[in-house]
Point group: C4
Chain length 206, copies 4
C-alpha cells in the first residue's frame, strides 16, 4: 500500500476517534510503519479530528524527523518506535485519550484486568471470552527515553502485548494494519468504559 492510501486511513481513523471523544484537542498521535526504519506519523500539535495530509511527517526509528520539514516530531514518537521494535507484526500504532481510560488508569494500580468479555476476541490470538487479559498501566513520565525503556522492558517480559495505558494519559494500541489497530482501540476503549461503569456500579452492592 502506498503512503497516500495509508495517510487516508489514518485521517479517517482520526475523524472516527475524535467523534467518539477519544482524541480531544491535539491529544493522541498516530503512526504507520512504511519500512524497517521509516514511520509515517502525525506531527506534534495537530488536531486528530481535523487531520489532513499536511499534518503527517516521516520519522526514523529514533523518533527523529527523517525528512526536511518545518513540522516537529512528537516527543512520543519514541513510544511508537518502542512498540514497532518489540512487535514485528505491528504496522500501525494509535494513541488515544478517552475519559474512561484516563479515570481508570488513575483509579487502578498496575493494570486493567479484562475477563469474560466477548469483545476480547478482537485482540490478537484470542478466540474466547473465557480468558483474563491484563492491559498494564505505566506511570506517566515526560522523559520519553526513560518511559520507552520501561515499556520495552515490560513488553520483553510479555506484558502489554495487547496494548497499554499510561496513567492519566491514555491508551496505546496497534495492529498489522491501520484497520486492525483501530478495531483494537474501539474494542479496548469499549471495555474500559464497561470496567469504569462496573466500578461505579459496585458502590451499590457493598
Amino acid at each position: 500500500m502506498n503512503i497516500a492510501a495509508i495517510t487516508d486511513q489514518l485521517i479517517s481513523a482520526g475523524h472516527l476517534l475524535h467523534r467518539r471523544g477519544w482524541v480531544p484537542a491535539s491529544g493522541g498521535n498516530f503512526s504507520a510503519r512504511l519500512a524497517s526504519d521509516r514511520l509515517l506519523m502525525t506531527s506534534s500539535g495537530c488536531h486528530k479530528g481535523e487531520l489532513s495530509a499536511a499534518d503527517f511527517m516521516l520519522v526514523d526509528m529514533q523518533g527523529n524527523a527523517a525528512e526536511d520539514t518545518p513540522r516537529r516530531a512528537s516527543a512520543e514518537s519514541l513510544l511508537h518506535c518502542a512498540i514497532y521494535r518489540m512487535d514485528a507484526s505491528a504496522a500501525a500504532v494509535l494513541h488515544t485519550h478517552s475519559v474512561p481510560a484516563t479515570v481508570l488508569s488513575r483509579a487502578l494500580e498496575a493494570g486493567v484486568i479484562l475477563r469474560d468479555y466477548e469483545l476480547l476476541k478482537i485482540l490478537d490470538g484470542i478466540s474466547t471470552h473465557e480468558i483474563s487479559v491484563e492491559i498494564p498501566i505505566f506511570d506517566n513520565d515526560q522523559n520519553m527515553t526513560r518511559l520507552s525503556t520501561v515499556i520495552e522492558e515490560a513488553m520483553r517480559q510479555g506484558r502489554g502485548r495487547h496494548g497499554f495505558l499510561i496513567r492519566g494519559h491514555g491508551l496505546y494500541a496497534w495492529g498489522s494494519s491501520v484497520a486492525e489497530a483501530r478495531y483494537r482501540v474501539e474494542a479496548l476503549e469499549f471495555l474500559f468504559d464497561c470496567e469504569w461503569q462496573s466500578q461505579l456500579g459496585e458502590a451499590r452492592q457493598q
Copy 2:
C-alpha cells in the same frame, strides 16, 4: 423487496448503530431472511459502521455459506438461524454490543426486568407501560451449537420473545422488517441505559 434494498437498509442500520457506539470494532452482526432457507448476512469480521454491499453474503439455515464466496460466515450465524426458526414473523435480526447492555448483563443474574416504561410499547404486542417484560440473559458460550440450543429451548418455553442478552456480549433483537428490528434495538438499548443508570442511582438511596 429485493436484496439490494434490504442490503441498503442493513447498511444504514449499521451506520446509525455505530454512531450510537453500539457496534464497536467488528462487533455485532446483522441478517435478513430472504426465503425460508436463505439469509442475507454480514460476513465475519467486517466493521458495522462502514458496511458496504461487499460485506454481505448468503447463508443457509445451518449457518453455512450458501454461495461460492471468499467471505467467512460468522460463527454466530447459528443464533440468527435459531431466532428465525423460533419466530416465524422474524424478517431481520440485529445483534449489537453496547456498554449498558454489557455491564447490565454482567451485573444481573437471569434477566433484565423492564416495567413502567412507555418505550416498552415499541415491542411486539405491547400497548401499555403497565407491564413487566423480561429480557433473559444467557451465559456466553463459544460453542454456538450449544448456545443456540439453549436459546431455542428458552424461546420454546416463551422466554426471550422480545430479544435476549448474552452475558458480557450483547443484545439480539429482531422484527418483521429491518426498520422494526432497528426500532427494537433502539428501544431496548435505551431501556438498558435507563436500567443501568437507575442501578447507579440506587446506591444513593441505601
Copy 3:
C-alpha cells in the same frame, strides 16, 4: 410562515434531537399550530431522526385527523391539544424521550426542582439563575383523555408552565416557534442530565 417551512424546521429538529439520543425508535412526537383549530403533526409510528414531509399530517384540536390520509394520528395528539389550549403563545410542541429525563422521572415524586442554573434563562420570562422552577412529573397513563385532563388541570393551577415530564416516558416542551421549543428542549434535557448526575454524586457525600 408556510407549512413547508414549518415542516422543514420540525424535520431538522428531529435530526438534531435524534443525534442527541432523545427520540429513540419511533418515540416522541412533534407538532406546530397552523391555525386556531389546525395542527401539523408527526403521524403515529414514524422515526423522528428520519422524518420526511410524508410523515406529517393535519390534526384538529380534538386530536383527530383533519385530512383524508392513510396515516394515523398519534394517541398523544390530545396532549399537544391540551398544551395549545392552555398556552395561547404556544406555536410548536416537542415531546422527547431521553435517558436522564426518564430515570429522573422515575426516581423523583412530584417534580424536578431546578435552581441556580444559568440555562434557566432560556425559559419563558426568566432572567436570572436565582430562581426555583418546578418541572412537574405526571404519572403515565394510556388513557389520553384522562391524562390530558390531569395536565390541563395542573396547568390551570399554574404548574407545568415551562414544560412537564410524564413518568417513565419523557418531556413535553413548547414555545412560540419551532426554534424556541427546541431551545427549551435542549435546555431542559441539559438540566435533567445535570440533576441526574448530581443525584449520583450525592451518594458520595453521605
Copy 4:
C-alpha cells in the same frame, strides 16, 4: 487574518462544540479580538451549533455594539472584555456550558484542582503532567459589571490564568487564536469530565 476567516473559524468551533453537547440551546458565546478596541462576537440569543455570519456583530471594549445593527450584544460581552483586558495574548474567547462543568462547579467550592493529567500540557506554558492547576469557580451573578470586576480582580492576583468556571453556568477559556482557544476548551471539558467521573468513583472506595 480577515474577519471572514475568523468568522468561519468561530462557526466551525460552534458546530464542533455543539456536537459535543457543550453549547445547548442558545447557551455560550464566542468572540475574537480584531483590534485593541474591537471584538467580533456572537450576538445575544443565537444557537452556537447553527451559527452563520449573520449571527456575529462588532462590539467595543465596554461590551456595547460598535456598529449600527438590529442585533443585541450579549450581556456577557463584559466578561469577554475583562479577559482581553487582563490577558494581552488572548485573541479568541470561547464560553461553553457542559454537563460535567456545570455539575462540578456546583459540587465544589472554590475551584477545580487538576493534577497529573497529560492533557494539562495543552494549557499555556505547561510542559509536564506533574503540576497542579486550579480552574477557579466564581459565583454566578446577573450583574455583569460586578461579575467582571470579580474576575478581573482574581486574574490580577494570578488566578484563572488557564480559564475559569462560573457556578451553575459554564467555562470561559481563551487562546492566542480561535484554534488554541478551542483546544483549551476541548482539554478542559475533557478534564472536568474526568474529575466528575472520579468523584462518582470515590463513593465506592469509602
